[in-house]
């Protein structure tokens, strides 16, 4: 077994059993992650990115359920473990950073209090050690005057500062994996860059692997080593970020890339992907992207496309990949 392999997800299936029907939010998704690696998950809203993240921690709420697959973290299949085991793992070995820093901190406790919570839960430290560690963590995420700020309440922090605190909480127990679910979507553009750089820097320093969930391809290209593109619960393309962005193999990836405005104006005009994300209750037969795909052929509407290996570490869910390694 590969020592370096941190997480191996195989055929993960998370379905939501709603009164209107079954929604396959994550459908047979497989990917893996090495220690210290930064993986991006990108796609439109409703593509199953966040559900994938929550599935890894087994925090899927009713009516959702993980119905199949394996989530092998450090050689252990998390889907076979008890809830108690998962609780001891959450926040300690896998932690998470959320989208909205405004609501991710409990307004009734001080920041120091909330930082300490995770330390109390997962580490055996004395009160004095915990305080020192809290100050150390706040310093790490670049909060000035940490000793004093520990006693402040969340409403006394700005959005960017709160996100730093949340990152500090996520890092508190030196996890091996951090899942960041759109960590910068709710922040100002200038702050976004700071926070992303900070996350990248900290994951390099601490050796934590990072899964970055976002719909922002610029963020993906800037920060990640590899990228998973998701569409309607399927993993449609995966590969090294540079390769995927230079030579997208799936029509959806190509569409995503073409719809980014370019400040240098090298593209004649924006090309949005036509149509909208299909209703998850009435997915088209065959390839789920077929209705919006300009390369669509009759076979795409009849059969589900295969996951083709088109290069080293490069897979694409398509009958007619746009790119293939020579």
């Amino acid at each position: 077994m590969n020592e370096d392999l941190l997480l191996d997800v195989r055929n993960l299936q998370t379905y939501f059993y709603t009164p209107k029907g079954v929604v396959k939010a994550v459908d047979r998704v497989s990917f893996n992650l090495h220690r210290g690696e930064v993986l991006g998950i990108v796609g439109e809203s409703g593509g199953g990115k966040s559900v994938t993240g929550f599935s890894l921690l087994r925090l899927i709420e009713y009516p959702g359920r993980i119905v199949g697959g394996e989530v092998i973290f450090k050689g252990v299949d998390l889907l076979k473990k008890s809830e108690q085991y998962m609780r001891s793992l959450r926040g300690k070995e896998i932690s998470m950073v959320f989208q909205d820093p405004m609501t991710s901190l409990n307004p009734v406790y001080t920041v120091g209090n909330q930082l300490e919570e995770s330390l109390i839960l997962h580490q055996d430290l004395t009160k004095e050690q915990r305080k020192r560690r809290c100050i150390e963590l706040l310093t790490m995420v670049g909060i000035p005057n940490p000793e004093k700020r520990l006693k402040d309440y969340p409403h006394q922090f700005s959005g960017g500062m709160r996100q730093r605190v949340i990152i500090a909480i996520a890092l508190a127990s030196k996890p091996d994996l951090i899942i960041a679910d759109e960590p910068t979507t709710a922040l100002d553009v200038t702050i976004q860059a700071q926070i992303l750089k900070l996350m990248k820097k900290l994951s390099e320093e601490t050796g934590s692997a990072l899964i970055l969930i976002t719909h922002d391809l610029a963020v993906i290209s800037e920060l990640t080593d590899r990228v998973n593109v998701m569409y309607c619960g399927n993993l449609v393309e995966t590969g090294h970020t540079k390769a995927v962005i230079q030579n997208p193999a799936h029509p959806y990836t190509e569409g995503l890339l073409r719809s980014i405005p370019d400040i240098a104006d090298t593209k004649p005009r924006l090309e949005p992907i036509p149509g909208i994300v299909p209703n998850m209750y009435e997915l088209p037969q065959g390839c789920k992207f077929s209705d919006r795909c300009k390369y669509c052929q009759s076979v795409c509407r009849e059969q589900e496309p295969p996951l083709l290996e088109v290069g080293r570490g490069r897979k694409v869910l398509c009958f007619f990949p746009l790119w293939k390694e020579e």
């Binding site: 009713y62 609780r87 793992l89 989208q99 991710s104 307004p107 909480i169």
Partner: protein, 292 residues
Amino acid sequence: MMLQRIAESDFFYHYRRSATAIVSSFLLFFIVFVALLGPLLTPQDPYALSNLHLANAYKPPAWLPGGELRFLLGTDQQGRDILSAIVYGSRVSLFIALLGVLLSSTLGILIGLLAGYVGGRLEAAIMRFADIQLSFPSMLIALFLMTTFGRSVVNIIITLTLIGWVRYARIVRGETLSVRKKEYIEASRVIGYSDIHIMFREVLPNVLNSVIVLSTIQIGTFILLEATLSFLGLGVPATKPTLGMLCSEGFSVLYSGLWWVSFFPGLYIVFIVFAINLFGDFLRDQLNPRLR
């Protein structure tokens, strides 16, 4: 340190600038002070039968002809000093109302948290039951319970608890539903907290504001409810007269011109409830940011 934090808080800032708040808290302070130190202040111990002389019966208040200074607010049919009886009666009334609020809020919070956090069928069952109970007038339920269990201080507190929990449960459940969706609750699950911890340490502090506001209103309501029950002869036993019981005792002679026996205890009930509601209003304005 603690004092300094209070002095610097928003709450204190608004408190100092609100006439209602200052006046009502002084009234409340007075009421609590009288109730706590009552036995030391009153001219007479109304429970000691040896102090009572029938010769002193139905003395009018001191400023009316025939009144005596030692019976400032007059006496009742047993020659009991009304002022002393009010002070002693307020002790029992407040004790019952406060304990009733404490127990009903505890019960209501537990049930409401459970319903709001767990959801599903449990929630539906609890809330339908609450709806049914709320559709009965609370007086009717109180009459039913008191006639079934009999008159005693314990029974009246149980009755108040069984009546009062519903409002707490509804409010707490509603707030829990909205707090539960917040990301900090998700975040504490991600850190690895158990559901029990999340319910009591993360959700509960965020719903307490409404509970506090409701409690002030409930204290007033409970004092009135207890007074009404006592007035109807279904409240506390006669050996521990509450304010409502005092009113009831004077009622029979009200039309004989002996108005003071009922009037002053009744006035004190109004005074207490007024002070509590006034303070409750201020709290509601302060603790509910939507109303600011």
